[in-house]
Symmetry: D5
Subunit: 106 residues, 10 copies
């Protein structure tokens, strides 16, 4: 099941927070990489003009998704909104191939 996830970054703008974010970044990238490898994190976009992100996730259910998101080092500073997604009629029955995997219905 897919989820559209809006990840608002609420870390403050002061110097100390910026240092903390720099410290967290390598581990953040590593966890994100693991989530991609596990097929949970499918896409990630930057909301332009902000430190926010929008992600496309795939997880068995909301509990698995919650566990994935709360494993992110930045999690305590993220305000997260989750939109569950249903398959669109136009994409039902799409052939299971690389194209389907890449988001086009074939």
């Amino acid at each position: 099941m897919e989820f559209l996830v809006r990840q608002l970054n609420r870390m403050p703008a002061d110097e100390e927070s910026r240092r903390l974010r720099e410290e967290l970044r390598p581990r953040e990238r590593q966890v994100a990489r693991q989530l991609r490898d596990a097929g949970i994190l499918r896409r990630l976009w930057r909301v332009p003009g902000t430190q926010h992100a929008i992600g496309l996730y795939e997880a068995e259910d909301a509990t698995v998704l919650h566990d994935a998101l709360s494993s992110l080092p930045m999690f305590p500073w993220l305000e997260i909104e989750i939109q569950p997604l249903a398959v669109h009629p136009q994409e039902r029955g799409a052939p299971p191939g690389p194209a389907a995997g890449s988001g086009t219905a074939g």
Copy 2:
């Protein structure tokens, strides 16, 4: 450039509107197919519990995107919100291959 597009269906619930929607559906699917073939419409999801949809589009700019959306037969009944998307640092420099095309960073 990618855009996340929320397509709220504001067609009323009465019987006449339902007939109209049925009439429009084949042409709607045909236009959607053309937009997919042109690489403009990349993914489309159903917002569960509604007639709304969320789409991932790719277009050169907002004018091209507007022309694509306004070619949909349902366009007069759609309330559309567009979120422009920037490439996320984690996906910059992703190798240009099928994986990149499918939204994972490799």
Copy 3:
């Protein structure tokens, strides 16, 4: 997976709509009963002072939930908001018994 579903009834107040709602009610109850028997609809509450309802649903994913909700005869007049639910840490590992089934953690 559980979902909390807010079902806002947007049927107008005029006499004709009231008659239509009366006509739909037996079939509405029948479908609701089927959803309860299938274990999809777990609880349903009336939002006091309104014709709205709040339901607790259980479904494999958002597509299954969407199919269930859109099978309701009143669906074209419902404005539906879905909150996906994750298991709370306090209820993880609750013994699989009637108490757990009834929503208390044992």
Copy 4:
């Protein structure tokens, strides 16, 4: 009478707050257990991607509910919204048995 309670956790993200939350957790669980044993707290869900929770409570009236909620050690950091619930016509007259207690109408 049942109430749907949205419990938004507004404790800040800094290290000191995280330590405080760890300290409060055992007592928090103990109070929650007492509320469950007293039949006041019926279900509790995690809002995925957040530290928020949604609870189903049963209390004689809003004053009893307030006393229960304000006994939670985390109460000073919770922003709470309460939705009073009325019995839905579909669940009126449900047979008083384990099934009714578990939220299905029989």
Copy 5:
């Protein structure tokens, strides 16, 4: 238990609706009088500049309140929001007398 009830009048402004409202008024007043006599409707105010009202109700629970509100002839045109009220610490233990009944703490 007391409830603060915001009753937004959504009847349209056209001539036909105005006639309908005139027709409903005597029965509306009669039902309101019955609710007052039953001790359910305690106070009713006009929101100035509107056709809306704010009421102070007392009912055993939300189901009883819902039954009272939905018995109003204007109910199909009312958009109702209910705020459950808890006893304020300053008014707990107020002497049971006419003053308490009238809403002052003695």
Copy 6:
């Protein structure tokens, strides 16, 4: 003239604020008592699950009401919203007696 006043308590949750609130409480109660004796504060409710309150006030005009509210020791931490109230047609012409004073129209 009556006013419905929503008093949102914005005092923070930290330990120092809690001590300050304890210190202010006796004086808060004393001022509230004076406002009740002066016929300005007519009722006060606790918004369940919060530290907020809703009050029914009676004052000659908004300036007198403002002076009363700003005399509360907690005033600097209150976010206050005021709803002016007009007499409802159902309560116009109510006999000037104890019943009218208690909020029922006789």
Copy 7:
């Protein structure tokens, strides 16, 4: 006591409504003139780009103000929001003269 009144014009845009508004205008102006002569309507502005207005009213209380506003022929189509106003400390004690009456503090 002064009130700031936002008068949103919700009359539809169709031809019939436009004719009705034309018909109502002379009587609307006449009532407005009476309210000005009675010292109730002090100022009236057009919200640019709309058919809405913002008015400064003076009335003994909200009931008198409501009676004035509901006497406007356009009242059934107005969505009205009322902001009660208190005297600002800078204008308290302003000399009772034409200048004070005209809204400047002297």
Copy 8:
């Protein structure tokens, strides 16, 4: 003085409205041209995915702007929001030349 004007098109989606819009278009374009020639309408953008527009206007004051906007044939169907603009410090003192006139600070 410059104003940023959001022009939301609220004309319904039905066939009759679409014909009306087609009829109004030539006159709409003509009035827009006149406003451009008069230096009042400086720029106009399409909000992508909608029939809305955002315009940059220049007018002596809000009354002149209102007269310009209400001269548009589509005005009865427009919901308009106006943001007054002040000169930014970076553009104060820009040399009076074609560049300044074109909105760049030189």
Copy 9:
């Protein structure tokens, strides 16, 4: 040109801020007096129950108004919303006399 200005006071409630506000008050009053003498600040009201104010200003354009508002010592703590005002048809052509100056249309 007139502007309606909502001045939300966002200074915190702590003791230090209260001292600062006391310090700023004489200078605040002096600047306000200068703005009144210059005919820029026409009226100022207290929003009851708050430290906010609503002002009626007159300025040549938004840049002049901005310069006036930003000269207030409290400006850094004010969250300001500006509503540009157009002359209402009922007040157009009002005779230029003291009555017009005082906001009534003659």
Copy 10:
């Protein structure tokens, strides 16, 4: 492609922040000048009564725009909202001249 950018300044009001803003200003102006020279920043307005700004930008896509905005020294304190703009039908086919460049359609 053009973008309308709302730049809300969230830097706090305290003395230290004011000093920091003063320090950042020369570099802020320098970066803004570079963005103007590069044709990215086309116009910038002050939202009157605030420290916010509205800008008209031109960039190849949202990623280029994000890079430009995040190069501003004030970026960590800005809350930015981006509205993508499509060419309006009235401005399509405008002759490529200084007038077009300056925002009028010729």
